[in-house]
């Protein structure tokens, strides 16, 4: 009898526990139903830019070789993170972020990077990543925190490739960097709607910044600036890039090793060019001019036809990104059930009420008049970002400075398209929205009070916010 009573008590407690579990808010996860993401923003095209979008998209999908590409897509390396723009920017469509299956996992030991090893942080189903060492190593191999690095340490080399001659390079010391706690990661930023962000006038952003300062959450914010002309820069995890052209040119050079009209030299690793007292004097001569045709490896093509083919790859990439429509919102399925529109609307209201929208502004402004296409003119930019950089505290800090952004400052990540992203935060450390929200609080973070407001909500209200976020 006593045993039966105990069992009943245990059963009742278990039911209570399970009920509590059921009540806990759940990230609905990546929404798989097609929302039409990846289409062009061009509806009317008086100036004939649609072929440029399509051409840019084709080139975004091209696989680069070092020197003997039958389609003349040469220039890869000598160091690279991937050999194709769309291999990293593919979720949920070309132009997006990292996919569920990481293409980088298959590179080492394959013809892509035959002599390389797969870095420890690249896994088959983990985030597509680039790596940076916040600090240089010294001559003894120890980390020197007095000597900031922060540049991209490309994961792979062309060593051993049949199209790379005798070039033989070492991969950076990822394991030693891990042991020294001297490595951070970044995942690809999606570029849907990027043309709208590019076309926001500085004055619009500045006025929006002042309006945002009227808050009781302790939030301020600043802008990163382009070092040449002092205007607001806006692309990249720290808003370090001014325009889509610069963004594309830098990525082509840094992530794929293709020199181009904006970045005309092959890029060595930060220390390989003598920085940090490494004593090295750049890439070895047998790793230069691997195409055998000189520099830059990507140029415009004056005699090509049609018109779009005249452009260099970087310009074509910029056009592709510029004319990508913002990601459409969509329905949300949670545990097999469709979430109601009223729930998502409630989540949107809560998102604003508790202060998330102080930084993740639903619409930081409307675009200036565009010379490209009408769709980029006078359009609301529903990016859920103020394009400002904010102090995010020690929990998210990466100790990498880019432009005016310090080691703990990040651009407010635009949340449009969040419903179909797999990996979250700048380094892809989580796939769970709850964890991503939780990471917003920490020592020195501007978002701590807002995160506390989230914690103060009921579980149902928190669920509504999660549902809303996955509708974006």
């Amino acid at each position: 009898m006593i045993k039966t009573a105990k069992r009943a008590t245990v059963f009742a407690l278990a039911m209570l526990f399970l009920a509590g579990m059921a009540l806990a808010q759940t990230d609905p996860g990546v929404q798989s139903a097609s929302r039409g993401t990846g289409a062009t923003i061009i509806t009317t095209d008086p100036n004939g830019f649609l072929p440029f979008f399509q051409d840019g998209q084709n080139r975004f999908n091209d696989i680069e070789s070092v020197s003997n590409s039958p389609s003349n897509n040469n220039g890869l390396g000598p160091r690279f993170n991937s050999n194709q723009c769309s291999s990293c920017h593919s979720q949920p469509a070309v132009g997006g972020t990292g996919a569920a299956v990481n293409p980088q996992f298959s590179f080492a030991g394959s013809p892509v990077a035959p002599k390389d090893s797969t870095p420890y942080f690249i896994t088959a189903n983990g985030p597509t990543r680039e790596a940076r060492f916040p600090f240089f190593f010294n001559a003894n191999g120890g980390v020197n925190t007095g000597n900031p690095n922060g540049g991209v340490e490309d994961l792979f080399t062309v060593s051993g490739r049949s199209d790379a001659g005798s070039c033989s390079l070492q991969q950076p010391s990822f394991n030693a960097a891990e042991q020294a706690n001297d490595i951070i990661f970044r995942i690809p930023t999606p570029v849907f709607g990027a043309g709208l962000i590019e076309n926001l006038d500085d004055s619009t952003l500045l006025k929006n910044q002042v309006n945002n300062l009227n808050n009781n959450f302790g939030i301020a914010g600043a802008f990163n600036h382009n070092g040449n002309d002092g205007t607001i820069s806006r692309f990249g995890w720290k808003a370090q890039n001014k325009s889509l052209h610069i963004f594309a040119g830098e990525a082509y050079n840094v992530e794929m090793g293709v020199s181009n009209e904006l970045f005309p030299q092959d890029r060595p690793l930060p220390g390989e060019d003598g920085n940090g007292g490494s004593g090295l004097t750049g890439l070895p001569s047998n790793c230069l001019n691997l195409t055998g045709t000189g520099y830059p490896e990507d140029t415009s093509n004056p005699t090509s036809t049609p018109q779009a083919a005249v452009l260099d790859d970087v310009s074509a990439f910029a056009n592709f990104m510029r004319f990508l429509a913002p990601p459409p919102t969509g329905g949300v399925v949670l545990n097999g059930q469709q979430v109601s529109a009223s729930t998502i609307a409630a989540g949107a209201s809560l998102f604003t009420a508790i202060g998330c929208a102080t930084c993740h502004n639903s619409t930081p402004g409307t675009t200036q008049v565009s010379n490209f296409v009408p769709a980029l003119s006078g359009a609301p930019v529903n990016a859920f970002s103020d394009i400002e950089i904010h102090h995010m505290g020690t929990g998210l800090a990466d100790n990498v400075s880019q432009g005016g952004a310090g080691g703990d400052q990040f651009r407010t990540a635009p949340l449009w398209g969040l419903g179909q992203r797999i990996f979250l935060l700048h380094d892809g450390r989580t796939t769970n929205l709850n964890a991503a929200i939780e990471a917003h609080q920490g020592h020195g973070s501007e978002a701590t009070n807002v995160e506390e407001n989230f914690d103060n909500l009921s579980q149902q209200q928190q669920q509504e916010i999660l549902d809303f976020l996955r509708s974006l």
Partner: protein
């Protein structure tokens, strides 16, 4: 046998040579063969800072030095002390001051042992009124601007009303979000030309009321006033734009070595002889702080007189780009 030994030696030399070569190549810059490092990058520390706050000395109090120690919040600059309610704590420090003059002085929340039916938060902030781009010249106007520009989702519960905290006058107002069922109680007063705000938020209005009552034990300096907290007494008088016009006898502009584009708000204390006694950079890169410090050594001001006697004066100067003021209604209704 001899041949085998020679081969072994040769192989050994070859391996040694390889190891030596790789060792030489692998250390420095991006390479290291040290897989058991003695020195590691510390976790949870921001070593690479962008524009940040700093001061010319570590003795003179600055607003961001406020902290919670032994469950008591103290900010020597503002002369504020507040013993936290039992079971409450500051789990996370705030961010550094912003280039618009915003400070987060303390973020206080219930600790793990808190047993109340709902959570709440106490946020203590300060806005340097020398640098705010909002259309307000004092704490009262700032509160009114906030009230007049509440988001559509919020509902006013109590318009700005005069109250007292720690025996000093504050302006108090309250609003709530029906959808979030969260209430905000905001009390503000001006101290040393800063709007110091205490923001309480919770779903539980009884808890908020008890927290407001608990605030009565807060120590606040005598100068605190929603409209006229302008220093004096034991601290310098604060005057906006004192470093202008005839007040400046000698001035040398800083020579910046880097081309940067950030606002650099600076507060200075001018001594009775008219020299810069203390410099507080709210937000500056180190090279900017050095250039400005070097320049200030050559500045000379007309001493500020109060009752015909020279007194120390505190003022603010914005180097670089300041934020443009917003337009809006801060009128008292």
């Amino acid at each position: 046998m001899r041949c085998v030994v020679l081969r072994f030696l040769g192989l050994g030399l070859f391996v040694s040579f390889l190891a030596w070569g790789q060792s030489a190549q692998r250390n420095g810059g991006d390479f290291s063969n040290d897989t058991h490092p003695v020195t590691k990058v510390p976790t949870g520390v921001i070593l690479v800072k962008g524009a940040w706050s700093s001061a010319s000395d570590s003795v003179t109090p600055v607003p961001e030095d406020g902290s919670v120690t032994n469950n008591v919040f103290r900010d020597q600059y503002f002369g504020m002390t507040y013993a936290l309610p039992r079971d409450w704590t500051e789990k996370y420090k705030g961010p550094p001051p912003s280039d618009s003059g915003r400070y987060v002085l303390a973020q206080i929340t219930p600790g793990d042992s808190f047993k109340g039916p709902a959570r709440a938060s106490i946020l203590i902030t300060a806005q340097d009124m020398f640098f705010t781009p909002l259309p307000a010249t004092n704490a009262l106007e700032l509160i009114n601007y906030t009230k007049n520009n509440l988001q559509a989702d919020y509902k006013l519960e109590l318009p700005p009303t005069q109250t007292r905290i720690g025996g000093r006058p504050f302006t108090f107002f309250a609003y709530w979000s029906p959808v979030a069922e969260l209430h905000w109680y905001v009390a503000a007063s001006e101290i040393r030309c800063h709007a110091v705000e205490i923001v309480l938020s919770s779903r539980d209005t009884k808890l908020l009321e008890s927290l407001m009552l608990d605030m009565s034990k807060m120590e606040v300096p005598a100068e605190a006033s929603p409209t006229a907290g302008t220093g004096g007494g034991d601290v310098p008088v604060c005057i906006k734009d004192y470093a202008s016009g005839e007040n400046v006898i000698a001035r040398v502009d800083p020579v910046f070595t880097e081309h940067r584009f950030n606002p650099v708000p600076v507060r200075i204390i001018i001594d009775k002889e008219g020299k810069v006694k203390h410099i507080h950079f709210l937000s500056a890169f180190p090279d900017q702080a050095k250039a400005i410090t070097d320049a200030f050594k050559q500045w000379k001001f007309k001493p500020y007189l109060r009752d015909r006697k020279p007194v120390e004066v505190e003022t603010g100067i914005m180097f670089g780009r300041g934020l443009r003021p917003a337009t809006g209604n801060a009128s008292v209704e």
